[in-house]
Every structure is written in C-alpha cells, then in structure tokens.
Subunit: 349 residues, 2 copies
Amino acid sequence: MPSLAQSGTGNPKKVAGLKEIAAEAGVSIRTAARALNGQGYVGAQTRKRIEHAAAKLGYSPNRIARSLRTQKSYEIAIAAWSTDELHIAKIAGFEQAMRRARYAVTILMGQQPDTEAAGREVLETLLEHRPAGVAAFPLPGATMTATVERLAAAGIPYVIFDSRGEGVDSARLDRAQGVYEAVLYLAAKGHQRIAYLGTRDEPSRLDGYLRAFSHLARKPCYMEVTPGTQPGGGGLDSYETGRAAAWTFAEMAERPDAVQAYSDEMALGFLAGLHELGFQVPKDVAVVGFDDRRAASLSWPRLTTVAQPSHELGVAAAEILLRKIAGEPEPPSGWSRTLPTRLMVRESA
Amino acid sequence: MPSLAQSGTGNPKKVAGLKEIAAEAGVSIRTAARALNGQGYVGAQTRKRIEHAAAKLGYSPNRIARSLRTQKSYEIAIAAWSTDELHIAKIAGFEQAMRRARYAVTILMGQQPDTEAAGREVLETLLEHRPAGVAAFPLPGATMTATVERLAAAGIPYVIFDSRGEGVDSARLDRAQGVYEAVLYLAAKGHQRIAYLGTRDEPSRLDGYLRAFSHLARKPCYMEVTPGTQPGGGGLDSYETGRAAAWTFAEMAERPDAVQAYSDEMALGFLAGLHELGFQVPKDVAVVGFDDRRAASLSWPRLTTVAQPSHELGVAAAEILLRKIAGEPEPPSGWSRTLPTRLMVRESA
DNA sequence: TTGTAAGCGTTATCAC
DNA sequence: GTGATAACGCTTACAA
C-alpha cells in the first residue's frame, strides 16, 4: 500500500470516464460516447454540453477498455534484438509512420536470443500483449520462417526488416545495386584497379561488385578476400579485419587504387591501417564503405560510402504492416518491397 | 472487411481464454484461473487437468482484460525524442530491466517537439495509453518541471534520464568527475599543458577540468574556448568546430600537449584537423574525448575517452521508476542517483 | 477446495 | 435523437 502523502508514487489518479462525463452533462453514457467519438447523431445542444463536461473533467478515452471491447489492439510489437544504429534508424522511421496511424510501438531491445527456444519464448511473451501487428529483424543465421509461421498461426500480421528469406514479407535493401553504383563511380573517377574487401560468402554486395565489372567489361582484377569474419559479425571485429587488410595491401605486387569495403567498420579499420603504414587516402588509394554509419562522417578523411535508406525502409515496413492489418489483399507482386541505396560522396573516394 | 482466404492478414485468431480452458477441463472459470495463476488452492488432480487443457488449447492470458480489471498497467512509456546512440544505449538498459520486471516498454522516437505545446500534446497522447510509468529524456533548453508536474497531477510515476533540473527525479551522470579523472590521467602521463576544448558555458565538464587543476595546484594554463556551438548541438557541428580548432591550435605560441574535448564528435573533428595539418596524435598532442561513442573505437588513432555508463544509467532509471510504481517511500536522499563515468584508454592519449 | 456474481470502461445491439 | 442493457476476459469478494 502506498503511504499517505506520497506524491507521484504508485497510485494513478482516477481519470474521468464516460460515466462521469455523462453524469455531469446529464445524459446517458451512450450519448456521451456518441458525441465524443463524433460518429452518431447527437443534438447540437447536447453535444455542446457533453463537450464542455469532457473538457472540464479532463476526459481521455481508456484505450484498454476500448481494446477489450472492440477486440482490436492499438499496439505494434517490434523485436529489435539489438541497438545497432542501423536498426534504430529503421525503427525510428517505422515508429513515426506507425504513430501517424495512431499505433503505439513497443520495442524489445534486449540481447539476441542465442537458442531458437529462447527466441520462441520471447515471441510468446510479445504475443501476450495481443499486438495488432509484429515487426522483427532477422536473427542472424536463421531463416525467419519459424517465426513467420508462428505469427501466421496466431493470425497476426507481420513484417520483417530487410530479410533475405524467400517467402518472407519484408522491406528490403538493394545492396547489390549500391555496390554496383559505387564501383561505377570509382571507375568513372578513373580508378583502374578496384578491389573488393570482404568475404567471398556474402552474396549481395559481391554480386553488385561483379556485376559492375561485367558492365565495365573488365575482369575483377584485384580482389582481396579476408576470411575469419562473418558478414554479420561484430563491428569491432570488422574494424580489426580491415586494419589487418592494410598490411596485405602494402605487400601486394600490384596494388589496387581503390577499395570497396564490405562495411563502414571494415573501411574505417582499413583506413586506420593505411594511416599507420603511411599511405594517403584517397591519393594512394580510394576507399568506399557501406552503411553510412555516423562514424563515416566523423573519420579522417570522411568516408565515401553507400548509404542505407534506413528511415525510408522503416516507413516502407510500416506501410506493409498497416496494409496487412487493414486487411487489404496482397498485391500480385507480393507485399515485399526493395529500396535503393544512395552513394554518399565524401573525401575518402 | 478482410477477404476470405487471406493468410496472416488483418484478423487475429481467437485465442483460447479461461472460459475455454475451464470448459475443456470441466471446472469453473475461477478454478482454472487459480490453477494457471498459481495463487490459490487447487486440487492436484484438478490442476493437472487444467494445465493439460491450457497446454492443449494454447492458453495465453489476455493482458488487456487483466489490465482493465485490476486497473493496473503493464506498460511503460518512454519519450526519447531522438535516436542518438547514447540515448538508445540508456533505453536498452532501461528496457531490459523493465522487461525483467514484466513490463513492456513503448517508445516514442519521432522528432523533438519544437514548441512547448507540441511536447505537451505528445505527452497527452502517451497518457491515453494509461502507462504504469513514464520515462523521458530532457528536452534541450527546457527544465522538465512542466512535464513532471503534469505527470504528478495525473499521479503517474516518472523518471527523467540524466536531467540537470533540481527537483527532478533522475538517474544522472557525473560528468565533472569524468573530466576530472581524465585530466588527472593526462597529468600523470606527464602532460604539462592540458587544454579544454569546448564552450565556457557548459558547466559540469568545465567544472571537472578546473577542479583537476586546483587539485594539481596548477593554473589552467591553456584553455581553448570555441563559441558558436551549443553544448546540445548537433554532432556534425561539433565535428566542424573541433576541426576548426586545429587551426587555432596550430597558430598558438605555446601549444598544449594534451586536449580534453567537450565530446567525442569534437575530439574526432579536432583529430581530423590535426591530421590535415600534419600533426601526430598522440605524439604531438594527446586527445581525450567524452561519451565513448561507437565512432571513438573506429577512428585513427582510436580515441581515449570518458565513457558514459549508459546501460547502467538505464538500469538505474528503471529501478527508480519501479520503486515509485511499487509505492515505496522516497528515500531520505531522494530518488535521484548519480553514476560514475569511466575512462577508456585507447591510442589517442 | 471450488463455484457464483459482480464489475473494470468501453462499444454494439436494440428498443423507444 | 436518445437510453437501457449486454458483452469483451479477467480478477476480487464472498458463499458453498
């Protein structure tokens, strides 16, 4: 029990409800509701009285009761699993779009569940809140099909952020196109030996790189592959990998004059290694990153990089989910959408 | 109306409730509830039957109905106003702690309300959701007293993240101490002329700087002040300010051999300017930042900086709010807590 | 140990 | 136009 003269502690004041308003205005609850929701016929006089009473008593509709009665939820749950700035930027776009549509967004940040079972349990907890829809980021290494099927079974609309899964409704990012354009940009600036710094097993970015070369009708002459880093791996690992790559670079017989890196972190690490070895960027070698993290604008030199349209991607995801919630039929092309990246030209290339 | 054979679109399946479980197990609703909530006496046999039925039908309690009945909310609203990584890190700690306590956290990211009225409106929208508590970040330039008073009037417990307001319950950060320790560290490394790079009007960090000097019994010999940047200002502005400061530095008759910067962004900009002018860090001048942003680990050289205990601060804020919600009496020392920073030593100093 | 009845604040259904 | 009345799924109080 809260103590007596405690201020702001533990006991929310009772907020005036329809009942109080109705009593104050001398009408029935139903009439008050009609006037305040503006949906039925109410006499002008009566309406005035009711609105006055509502203002006086500070009426605010109880969304909980409304939800219970209408069996509709005004909440969206989103499983972020991470606080990476790229995720957050997408969430921000998503949240704004959702708020515009009068939904509240509940976020689960916590740490990534390591086991499938743990992830499942988290999902069940989310579902307890009866969200109107669920948005989730892909768990690294997991096709999201299990999650998606669970959601489908519960009849809850979902959308996945930037999933690479096939049958999964998602707002996606065209990574290949981004790298393609970046390489073409480097070529247009006269670079002859454009290397790709990253792993062989990351498909999309490497695809874009190769596509650019087939377009340029050159052979992808210089290509550095640095194993030991998973694509989804921690940013700091990528930094170290990039840094180590500078020594490899230094020892090459024919050095590249430009490098497209897998990520900003890797590019930034490469930059650091280059500086340590006395190379100048972009004079000796141009460097392009991928992601356009904040750090890409705070480095020396500032990093030219392929920017993710994170905000727009979040908005697109929200639109998909909103449409599904509204019960619109799936468009012939499917729900998923793919968004273009854009090249941010700064000093490093 | 949703169309017929639509999968996963718009119409959540009816979830088995207490009524269904009770029917399946052949008991009353009340008994089923007791068994499932594990709070009353239920015969072992009956309990088995009920649990079996619940598992079979996939029971999950309806938190909305529960909220309505108990007049208790299991939601916390948080006004972030921003997606800055420092905010997000605090929110992450907060969210995890809240989830452990079985609360869901609803976040408002959007953009900062420019007018007081806009902020007020946002607050009212938050309140419609009847949160059990509210957490908010301070709006730059605004004492949060108006917000706090509104919340107090509604009887909703609150906590503010890292507020500098006097009577405001908050989990705070000891910035002065952080700078104090950093300067002492620089002095211990033998630096003679330790400058502070920032504005005169930011009190806490500058205080720490001055305190360190009075402790060292030296006069704060070199002190660069760069106006034109507000403390709360955008990170990129800070970068440019820091960069410009490198030229000032170069022209000084007696140059500092170490610089404590206002923020990581400013330090990183300073680093960039220094590199452009051919200075070496830390050989020619050591640089210390403040915040320990991600970018501080991705720069060259990597930035020594004062780290904010963001996660812990979020957890501390959650603890304060949880205590207030539980109706605990305010401790004699007040609800607010102040957390220490820690120096992250990397290559720049 | 178990069952019955009432009610949280709202909206839906039907009379008047 | 307006007003009773029931219901959403759950918990509390009390009776059996």
